[in-house]
């Protein structure tokens, strides 16, 4: 009974939108008229050279994922196992880098690497032996770099770090004692034990990379680099929109992601998950005080400064520019844009909306995700494999399509249309959107808690709610804080999911920034970007403070 309800619940929020996409891809009737079956959309998609090229570019751009996996594993290992000097700062910086909205950060990079005005290019060309610009951000390497620096590496470091920290060091110490060298231990012990986590990080980063949108849109379009998500955007934003084409392309993408999810699930089933947290605690190895740890530390601090803080500083400077990107005018600075934005009633409304949505989605989402994750790991239900797969589906749906789908559902279901114009559809869309990452992360975390810790509470007479609140949640508290942060930050910066649902009364800050950019007010957009970044800093700091106080005291 419970199993059936659980499956139906998960199915309703995950499979329904997918079916909607599939069915709509065969609907060739004009907007607003009755359903009419046809293959027109599919034919167009397969006959378009541009669409084929967008698929190729999508995969070319995703080469950053395997590279980032190696880099991120090495960094996590240095941070957690070697505890290089400054490891706390570096880890915080990666969190911060990941949580910062990509859109304003990309503007920071444009200020640095633009072919004509980019600060790096301008400064390098002052050197005697360089007479042409070195960098060009509007290019495939440019797109790869922005993602690599701001999302791909940071997301993997923040995913691998906690898992590595939870891995009992005695496994590695046993290898050391067997006479294995550091590299052998890493290759034969650490990496195999962490393989499920590495696979999770890889697949999450890959999917993020496949559905990335804003950066490709801004940096790729000028040089004719289209990716799958920008093609969909093109189809949908045409007047009238080409929904069948968009949905057909969405279906192809969905099939690819589904295949990835099935492979991943099969892999996890094969290796199984080991409970590595026991009540006996984790022994940590001492930090080797060697000269090279300082050298590595300097390199990594340099890396995070260049990839994360430099574009942020540029962004901040840019927001005080009279004209965005022009630093070498006689009198380039002004605070006029700040004053204008802060006085704008739309901005004040947006800040309230954004924070409300962020906190609600964060808190409600974390609770729902952890219940779903617990059920998937512990409960004895039938259809577990199916549920596991279904949980992935929302990621297979591009944000924009999820938005359209929910909008359609809200407007077409009698009784639900009163929700239109409120923030409820936004909350729903965002919770569904964040379901996969939230559930996957918490699932891994719960699987690492030895089941006997919960059984002990059962034997004490505690009921489910009590056990969940007093034993399970506190034990996975650090991961709960991480998931909250991830969800909060994604919500804060999300454009694609909400862009079509939000009414003028429910514009978020990210949407406001998007609107400013579209209307050419780059300076105002930058101001909003800086404010979003500041909120991110505050929330990240607070979460870290809380996170260090909760969980297991060692």
């Amino acid at each position: 009974m419970f199993s059936t309800l659980f499956l139906l619940g998960i199915g309703a929020v995950t499979v329904a939108p997918v079916l909607y996409v599939l069915i709509a891809s065969f609907d060739v009737a004009p907007m607003g008229s009755a359903y009419q079956f046809g293959l027109g959309g599919w034919k167009d998609v397969f006959s378009s050279q541009r669409t084929w090229m967008s698929m190729v570019y999508t995969f070319v751009l995703s080469v950053r994922v395997p590279i980032a996996t190696v880099v991120a594993f090495a960094i996590s290992w240095l941070l957690v196992r070697v505890e290089i000097p400054g490891h706390r700062f570096i880890e915080l910086a990666f969190w911060f880098g990941f949580l910062l909205p990509a859109f304003p950060m990309m503007m920071g990079w444009i200020l640095l690497l633009d072919e004509h005005h980019g600060l790096f290019n301008v400064m390098l060309m002052k050197l005697p032996f360089i007479d042409a610009p070195i960098f060009s951000i509007y290019s495939i390497p440019g797109i790869i770099w922005v993602h690599f620096a701001l999302t791909t590496v940071p997301i993997m470091v923040i995913l691998l770090g906690p898992t590595l920290r939870q891995l009992d060091a005695s496994f590695e110490e046993a290898a050391d004692m067997s006479g294995a060298s550091m590299l052998t231990t890493m290759r034969r012990i650490t990496i195999p034990l962490l393989m499920p986590a590495i696979a999770t990080a890889f697949i999450l980063a890959l999917i993020r990379s496949l559905e990335a949108f804003e950066v490709e849109r801004i940096l790729g379009t000028p040089v004719n680099v289209n990716v799958y998500s920008t093609r969909i955007y093109d189809f949908v934003s045409l007047e009238p929109p080409l929904f069948p084409q968009a949905m057909a392309l969405g279906t192809i993408f969905l099939a690819i992601l589904l295949l990835l999810a099935i492979l991943y699930q099969a892999y996890l089933d094969r290796v199984g998950t080991q409970a590595t947290i026991t009540s006996r605690g984790v022994s940590l190895r001492a930090r080797p005080e060697a000269w090279w740890t300082y050298a590595v530390s300097v390199v990594l601090i340099g890396y995070v400064c260049v990839t994360i803080f430099l574009p942020l500083v540029m962004l901040l400077l840019g927001s005080f520019n009279k004209l965005f990107g022009f630093f070498f005018l006689d009198d380039p600075w002004t605070s006029a844009h700040w004053l204008a934005v802060l006085r704008d009633a739309r901005f004040l409304r947006a800040i309230v909306t954004s924070v409300t949505i962020g906190l609600t989605v964060g808190l409600v989402g974390v609770l729902i995700f952890s219940l779903v994750a617990w059920t998937l790991v512990r409960a004895n239900i039938w259809g577990r494999r199916l549920a596991n797969l279904m949980v992935w589906l929302p990621w297979a749906i591009p944000g924009m399509i999820l938005g359209v789908t929910l909008l359609g559902m809200v407007l077409q279901t009698p009784g639900l249309s009163i929700l239109y114009g409120t923030i409820v559809p936004l909350l729903l869309a965002l919770i569904i959107k964040e379901l996969p990452i939230g559930v996957q992360l918490l699932r891994g975390s719960i699987a690492q808690v030895s089941g006997q810790l919960e059984e002990a509470a059962v034997m004490c007479g505690a009921g489910f709610a009590m056990i969940f609140r007093r034993v399970t949640l506190p034990l996975i508290a650090p991961m709960l804080a991480s998931v909250f942060l991830l969800v909060f930050a994604s919500t804060l910066r999300d454009v694609s999911t909400v862009v079509l649902i939000a009414t003028p009364g429910t514009r978020t800050m990210a949407l406001l920034m998007f609107d400013f950019t579209l209307s050419g007010q780059l300076e105002s957009a930058t101001v909003v970007g800086v404010i979003i970044a500041m909120i991110c800093i505050i929330v990240t700091g607070a979460s870290f403070k809380i996170r260090s106080k909760i969980g297991i005291q060692r």
Binding site: I277, T278, S279, R280, G281, S450, Q452, L453, E455, A456, A457, V458, M459, C460, G461, A462, G463, M466, R470, V471, P474, L475, A477, G551, I552, Q553, R554
Partner: protein, 366 residues
Amino acid sequence: MLDVRDLSKSYVTDGAKPVIAIDGVTFSVEKGKIFTLLGPSGCGKTTTLRSIAGLETPDSGEIVVSGEAVFSSKTGLRVPANARGFGMVFQSYAIWPHMTVFENVAFPLQVRGRTPRYSRRQIDDEVSRILDVVALSGYEHRQATQLSGGQQQRLALARALVAKPSLLLLDEPLSNLDAKLREKMRFELKRLQREVGITSIYVTHDQSEALGLSHDIAVMDRGRIVQIGSPRDIYERPKDDFVAEFVGTTNFVSGEVLATSVDPAGYVVQVASGPLTVATSDTLRRGDKVTISIRPEDVQVSTQPMDGPNTWDAVVDTHMFLGFCQDLALAWGPVRLEARVHPSLTVEAGAPVRIRIAPERCVVCK
């Protein structure tokens, strides 16, 4: 007090045949006694314990506590684990690492849905009473993970006992401790159990723990109970060679029944080294093939002449001095015998000795 009737459970694994975990397990335990389930890993002892706890659901059978069923496959009754009111000590202790000692012990009092609920004061009192019993007073505000292995073990015990459960379930509670501590905790457990007077079910694969702690032992093998009896019964009169081998070390000598013997009442069994007189009340027939179990400590060894039944010449093959005793490997004709003798006996490898095996110490295993 506890009646377990015809409990069976099998696990279905992917593709393969279902694995039978327990098969028709039946036993009963009197109030205030320690009952031990003893057996090698995979014999079903833990499944039995977890079924009693309510953490697993057997396929069939019945579990009755103080006349009230908590599980019955016939009526479909299954009282959930958290409503059975038992205490349990887990093999890993399952001490919650995010709570202090006090919080761990107070938990059962806080969550048990009884009326009236415990007041804060009562909780304080009960916790300090039980911490006193397990000698952890003064550790209330330590983080649970800062305790040593033995302390964690006692904490787990305190948590299991604090709400005065009707039944205490112990799943290999000593297996994570070092040998010395294990021995100490064994005495401690026995003292505590006597003090609290609680009916306990103890699961272990360690025969010395089982023999030392229990009032009754059930030896399990491949999902079935092979023998139930007092520690002395199990050790001195093992029902078959599995029990004899598992409960302590033993010598197995095989032979064939030659004739009945009158004094002592029993049989003469022809073994490879000669005729052996065996005292038994079992009914055997001439020509039956039997295995005889002889405990090493029942082989008397002397450098002086000895007489009486079952006295033979043998040669010391190897000897191992252990301090409190010495273990000898003897060549008794073609048969190899292990003997445990007093450390004062001085023998060397290769020396001839006399051995004697009392007929009532020869146990026939079928």
